[in-house]
Symmetry: C2
Subunit: 324 residues, 2 copies
């Protein structure tokens, strides 16, 4: 495995994607104030962030609009109210989940939308549906990525087939997603190599989306980066499901491209993230998340344990060991 770049230079192919609203929305049901979203948008512009993801485009027939904030649905007009014509270098992204997005109807032509990038999230066993969504979005004029989730639980042979399908599709980028926060840096380096080989062969960029169950979100992100992965997801103070994600402030402190600025991010964190934490919005590393990460399991039981304020870590651990 050869390393791309070194610690003093920077690679212009690297793009930073702020996923605060989208992954962070999973811990507060997308109830962000308009001020929060507007200031996050301004912060990302000042910080030189390349993409800002506004949320999911979830199907309103499947999900009750009264039970979630508007960024679970990300209507074009709601984004437009924040960004206007978005006459900036910051590109706008949304995520569309296989099976949870009525894409033929709800994703409009790019010419009618402020969105630049549509990220299709799928499990490895729903690739044909993902490819259909990619083709639809591509045809409508969008940049697209495919984010294959929960790969720590997928067979290598299935991932290989999925990558080949994506290689032949019109998708622009393919994401490594460590949904359970269970992958170690040496695995990330091997997986990066596999994805990059396909990416180079078919002309697709590769991205990294990490979770912090084992305090490895940042390490895995920069290790993937050192291998040649170029789209790097981060969220403000790591806000995201369960143990959260790679923190934007850690990532921007590492990257050497002078376009990235730390100061506006710290300003945003102290003014808008600290109050969320104070108000009891829960995310970030803790031992229950570590346990589900180590055991390569969905974090849902750990999330429940955190909500209950459980600190009987040994009993929590035993519940898994007894089940296996």
């Amino acid at each position: 495995m050869t390393q791309k770049g070194d610690l003093l230079s920077f690679r212009p192919d690297i793009k930073v994607v702020d996923a605060t609203i989208r992954d962070g929305g999973l811990v507060n049901d997308f109830y962000f104030s308009d001020e929060f979203i507007r200031e996050l948008y301004k912060t990302n512009i000042k910080a030189g962030v390349d993409y800002m993801e506004f949320g999911y485009r979830a199907d309103k027939e499947m999900f009750d609009v009264d039970k979630f904030g508007k960024w679970k649905f990300c209507d074009d007009q709601d984004i437009r109210e924040i960004v206007g014509d978005n006459d900036t270098d910051l590109k706008i992204s949304i995520m569309a989940d296989v099976g949870r997005c009525n894409y033929k109807q709800d994703i409009h032509d790019k010419s009618d939308s402020p969105v630049d990038l549509i990220r299709i999230a799928t499990y490895v066993n729903t690739m044909p549906a993902a490819i259909d969504m990619i083709e639809d979005a591509h045809q409508k004029g969008y940049e697209t990525t495919c984010n294959i989730m929960a790969i720590s639980n997928a067979k290598e042979s299935d991932i290989k087939s999925a990558l080949e399908m994506l290689g032949k599709s019109p998708v622009d980028g393919i994401y490594i997603v460590d949904s359970y926060g269970s992958l170690y840096p040496e695995q990330i380096r091997m997986i990066s190599e596999q994805y990059l080989e396909v990416g180079e062969r078919y002309g697709k960029y590769i991205g990294m989306h990490a979770h912090n169950n084992q305090q490895l979100a940042f390490a895995n992100t920069i290790d993937a980066c050192a291998q040649g992965v170029s789209y790097l997801d981060a969220t403000m103070s790591g806000m995201g499901r369960g143990a959260g994600n790679c923190a934007m402030e850690l990532l921007l402190g590492f990257l050497k491209n002078p376009r990235y600025k730390m100061f506006p991010v710290l300003k945003f964190v102290e003014k808008y993230i600290v109050p969320l934490k104070d108000a009891g919005v829960l995310w970030g590393y803790d031992i229950p998340y570590m346990i589900t990460g180590q055991l390569n399991q969905h974090p849902r039981t750990a999330i429940a344990a955190e909500k209950e304020g459980r600190r009987d870590y040994s009993d929590f651990y035993k519940e898994f060991i007894d089940k296996d």
Copy 2:
């Protein structure tokens, strides 16, 4: 760089060193209850930990014994009260700092002491004094390591000279110490290679002691391990100066040697570490530590900021940028 071992097998050369009292003592002035120490000792035995470091052997003429708990001084008889004859597989370690230990007088013959390993901590510019301490401890019958601190601020040429001096000394092991938590995994891999080359040439093992300023303590520890570093420091829930250290529970979850057990560690953490945190003992990742880590500075200003409960991260950051 070639990788030693893989994710399913285990390397019998790996030793886990619990530094909870020694590095954790820096955040509570070594005021641990005897019950805490006794239960930690029992926990380490049950968990299969290889070494337990009881603290520093600090010079009582330099440091007021009324201002610190007894583990700053680690008298042989105090250790003996906990461990008796230590008829176990767990080895006992203490740390002796260059310039802060009256070693000729206070380190007694191994035959009169429960201690197995003396770890000499030094900066790169006090190597001759460190060598003298190593020779003294070696002569008295102890296993020894040399822990060169703050290497992120040292010149490579000085580190190279120090390693050659240590190679020719009777020291048994040499430690990579990231005192400021500022080193990235790709640096740790290069430094590991450098230390391992000297270690192989002279027959010394290499150890890793990490700090968590950038949420990289665990990642750096297992990356060093993958390179061939074999002595791995960890502390319960990462208890240690500033952002703390590599957490024992993360490390034992990664290592595959069946001698290591997670359950007793989780039991100890919930019963003895959680109450310390609740009582306001401060350690663990936060943005001020990230900033001193990114800027490769001693964490003392970040520790002060945490004690004051500062969350004006952008002002804290500006204080460094203005100074530089």
